[in-house]
Symmetry: C2
Subunit: 474 residues, 2 copies
C-alpha cells in the first residue's frame, strides 16, 4: 500500500466535514439520528444535514441538496432509498466529495440481479470520478478520538479512545463489539463497518490498520470475500505487524446460508478458512464474545504467549471445585497447570499451613484469608513469583466474598489486586462471574479493568482467550 493511499484512508476516520443525506427533522429517521450522534460525540468538523424538505435539526440548517452546501464536503453519509443512490452518487461527484458511505440496503445481498447490476453501476460511476464508496448495507466509520460514533446512535457514545481497530462486514456485530468495548474498557482507535464492500473492502482497511500508528491491535468480523488471494496477503501482512483477531461468520452450513442473505458472501468451507487464517498468522475466534475477549486480553496484557497457568479458584472460600473446573478449562484449551516449585510450597506452608488446603497449583488460599488480608496478599505474591507459572488466573466471586468476608474486606482485597500489575511481573487475569451482587461486581470489574487487568466472566472464557492469543506464531 502506497503512502498516498494510506493517507487517503486516514480521511475516512478524520474527515474535515460530514454531510448526512437523508437527515430530515423527524428525529426517528436514521439520518437525523446520525446527525444527533455526531453532535453528541463532539465531532469537531462541519456537519451538514441534507434532506429535500429542508428545515432545521438540532439547531443545524438542513440543506435541500448536497450542491446547496456552501463549504467543502469530504465525507457523505447516505441514508437514502436504493432507487436514489445513482443520483446521489452523481451529486457527490459534482460536490467533489472524497467518500460516500451507504446505509442503504437492498443490493447484491438480496440475491437479485437488479441489486447486483445497481452495485456495478455505482462502482463504475464512482471509479471514473475517484470517489470512494463504503458499503452499501453498512453503518460505516467509527473514531472515538475524532468524535465519530458508530452508526445512527443519537446518544453518540464512543467510549474512551485507544489503540484497538476493527473491520466488520456486519453493522450489528460492529455495534455490539463497541457496546462490549464501552462496558469492558476496550478502547478503540478506529472501526469500520464495510457491508457489501463493493469498493473499499476488508483488505483495504487491513492494509491501512497494519500501518496506522494509532492502531496496535486489529480485530475483524468477516463473512466472505470476492478476492481471496488479496485478503490472504492483507491478513498475512497485518498479522505480522500486529496481533490480528478474526471472527469468520458462516462457518457452518446454516451460518453460511444466513451469510449469503446478509452480505451476499459466498462463503468457503470452514476448514479452508481456518487453514487460511492459520497460515496468515491470524488468531481465529468462533464467536463475538471470543473476539471481544481476545481484544481485551491483548489490550491489557500485550501479546502474551502463555502455556503455564497458576490458578486460584476463590479468595473467600476454598474455591476447590472452581479450581478443578478452572484446571479443566485450561487443559481443554491446551494450557498446562504445572506444580509449583518446592521452595514456593515451603513458603506457602509457612504462610498458610497445610490443613485442608491445596498447595500444588491450583492453590486454595482460604486459610490465608482466615489469617487476614496481609497474609492473603503475601500468598498471592508468593504464587506469582514462582517462575513455573507464566500467568496467574484468579476467580473472585463478589457475592460469596460478601457473605464470607463482608463488603469492606472485599474492597481491601480488590484494592490490592488493582496494585498487583505494578507489584509483580506476572500477568494477572481475573475471573469475575455474574451472580447475586451484580452492582458490586460491576464496580469491581471497572476498578480492575482501569488498573490494566483483563477481566472475564468465566474460567472457560479466560482460559480460551489466553490460549487463543498465545497460539499466535512468534
Amino acid at each position: 500500500m502506497s503512502d498516498e493511499r494510506r493517507n487517503e484512508l486516514k480521511a475516512v476516520f478524520h474527515p474535515r466535514s460530514i454531510a448526512v443525506v437523508g437527515a430530515s427533522s423527524d428525529p426517528r429517521k436514521s439520518g437525523a439520528k446520525w446527525v444527533a450522534g455526531l453532535k453528541a460525540a463532539g465531532y469537531s468538523g462541519a456537519i451538514y444535514p441534507v434532506s429535500a424538505g429542508g428545515g432545521t435539526i438540532g439547531g443545524l440548517n438542513i440543506y435541500t441538496s448536497l450542491s446547496a452546501i456552501p463549504g467543502d464536503v469530504e465525507y457523505v453519509v447516505a441514508s437514502v432509498p436504493a432507487r436514489s443512490v445513482l443520483q446521489l452518487l452523481d451529486e457527490c461527484i459534482a460536490k467533489r466529495a472524497r467518500f460516500v458511505q451507504f446505509f442503504t440496503a437492498g443490493f447484491s445481498e438480496t440475491g437479485s440481479s437488479e441489486g447486483e447490476a445497481l452495485e456495478r453501476d455505482m462502482l463504475e460511476r464512482a471509479h471514473r470520478a475517484g470517489l470512494r464508496i463504503i458499503g452499501p448495507n453498512c453503518i460505516g466509520n467509527f473514531c472515538p478520538a475524532a468524535g465519530i460514533p458508530l452508526g445512527p446512535v443519537p446518544a453518540g457514545r464512543t467510549g474512551m479512545p485507544g489503540n484497538v481497530s476493527f473491520i466488520s462486514q456486519s453493522g450489528g456485530i460492529a455495534g455490539k463489539l463497541v457496546e462490549y468495548g464501552i462496558a469492558r474498557h476496550i478502547r478503540f482507535s478506529k472501526g469500520i463497518s464495510v457491508g457489501n464492500c463493493i469498493d473499499l473492502d476488508t483488505s483495504d482497511f487491513l492494509d491501512y490498520f497494519a500501518h496506522d500508528e494509532e492502531t496496535r491491535i486489529i480485530g475483524a468480523y468477516l463473512e466472505g470475500t470476492r478476492a481471496g488471494r488479496r485478503l490472504f496477503e492483507s491478513l498475512r501482512k497485518a498479522s505480522a505487524a500486529k496481533p490480528t483477531v478474526i471472527l469468520k461468520g458462516g462457518r457452518t452450513e446454516a451460518g453460511s446460508a444466513a451469510a449469503r442473505s446478509h452480505t451476499g458472501s459466498l462463503a468457503s468451507s470452514a476448514p479452508v478458512w481456518s487453514a487460511m487464517l492459520h497460515q496468515a498468522g491470524a488468531i481465529e475466534v468462533h464467536n463475538l464474545e471470543e473476539l471481544a475477549d481476545c481484544l481485551l486480553l491483548l489490550q491489557q496484557l500485550g501479546p502474551v504467549r502463555t502455556r503455564n497457568v497458576g490458578i486460584v479458584g476463590g479468595l473467600a472460600d476454598g474455591g476447590g471445585g472452581i479450581s478443578v473446573s478452572g484446571s479443566d478449562a485450561c487443559n481443554d484449551n491446551g494450557l498446562t497447570v504445572p506444580p509449583l516449585h518446592s521452595e514456593t510450597k515451603e513458603r506457602l506452608l509457612d504462610l498458610i499451613g497445610e490443613v485442608g488446603s491445596i498447595l500444588r497449583n491450583p492453590v486454595d488460599v482460604s486459610p490465608a484469608q482466615f489469617r487476614g488480608l496481609d497474609t492473603l496478599c503475601e500468598t498471592l505474591r508468593v504464587i506469582a513469583s514462582d517462575d513455573a507459572i507464566e500467568l496467574l488466573m484468579i476467580q473472585e466471586d463478589v457475592d460469596i466474598m460478601h457473605s464470607f468476608l463482608g463488603v469492606e474486606e472485599t474492597r481491601d482485597i480488590n484494592a490490592f489486586l488493582a496494585r498487583f500489575p505494578q507489584e509483580t511481573h506476572t500477568p494477572l487475569v481475573v475471573v469475575l462471574p455474574g451472580g447475586s451482587a451484580e452492582s458490586h461486581r460491576v464496580e469491581v470489574e471497572e476498578q480492575l479493568l482501569a488498573a490494566g487487568i483483563p477481566v472475564f466472566p468465566t474460567m472457560a472464557r479466560a482460559a480460551r482467550a489466553v490460549a487463543l492469543v498465545s497460539q499466535r506464531p512468534a
Copy 2:
C-alpha cells in the same frame, strides 16, 4: 431405596432443630455466620449455638456443650477443628442427634494416612450408633422452603423456593450455583454439599431426589466416587425419573490432579465418565455455566426436545451478523436452522416487505420494527407459528435498542415478549448479552425470567443448553 430410608433423608432438609457447634460470639467465625444465616433466612425450627466459652449470639444463648441443650437436637452443624471431631461424634451420639455435617476439612483429601484413618474412625463410631454423617469438608444442607441457606452466609439469602435440587462434591461450586440461581431465577427445592462423603454420598441423595415429590429437576457436580457401580445405578434411576444434569469436575489431567487434592477423589478418565453418564441417560455438561444454563432451561421450558430452531438476531437493527453467528452456534451444537414454509414467507413479505431483509430463517425483522410495534409483534407471532421450527431464539441487545428505538419502545417490546409464552405454544429463548446498558439489561432479564422465559447471555450458550437438554433419551 426403601420408604423408610427416604423419610430419613427428608429430615436432612427439614430438621426440627439445628445445633451449630463452634458458634462463638465472634461474628467472624464460621459457626457464628451459620447461626446468623439460619436466623436471617427464617428457619422456623430451634437453633442451638454451641461453644465451650458460652455467651450469647444474636440474642440466642450459646450452650457450652451439646449435652447442655435442653431440647432434642435433630441436626448438628459442626465447625470444629479436625482434632475435635471424634469427641464431637460421641457427644452427638449421646445427644441422639440424627445427622451431623462437618464443615471441618483436613481428612482424606490431604492425602495423609492420618486423615484417612480418622475418617474410618468417624464412620465406625457413627455407624454403630445409627448417626449419619454429611461430609466432612462440606457446607451441607440447603432448603429455601425450610429457611436453611447454604453454608455460613450471614445474610441468609436462599432465593425463592422451587423444584430444582442439586448435589455437589464442592462447597464452592454449590455456593456459586446458588448465587447464579438467585440472580437468574433458578428456584431450588433442596441442595446438598457432600464433600468427602464418607457416609451419606451422592448416590444416597440421587436416590432421594429421584423420589422426592418437590424435586422436578436434578443437578450435580461430581469429582469422583468410591462406588462406581452404585453411582451408575442411582444416576440411571434418577435420569429415568427426572432430567438429571451432571458436571464432572476433573475431566482433564490438570483437573483430575486438582480434584485429588480437593475431595480425595480418584477420577477415572474423561471418556469413561462420559460413556457412563450417557449410558445412564444423564445430561453431561462441561462447566458450571452450562450446568446453570441447563437447569434454567429445564425449569422454564420443561424437558424440551428441539432440533429445529428459528432465529431472530436483533429487534432494532438488522441483526444480520448476529443471525449468522447464531446459526453457526446452532449448527456447532447439532441444531438445525430450517427454512420457513413458503406460506410463512408470504405472510412475512406482506408484513415487512423484502428490501434488505432476510426472510428465510434467520429472519431480519428490522423492517417490521420500522413499521411500528404492532408489525414487529405480529412478525414474531408469524415466525413462531411456522411448524418448521420447534423453538424460537431471539437476541435482544438492550443497549443497541436504546440507541435505535429509545427506552420506551424497548419497554413496550419487552412487555410483548413477556406475554409471548401465553400467546404461543412455541418455546421462546431470549439472548440478552451484556453491554453498555447494564442496569436496564438486568431489569429486562428479571422481567423475562419472571415470565417463564429462559434468558442466556450469548447465542452460543443458548444453543448449547438447548442441544444438551434435547439430547436426553426419550
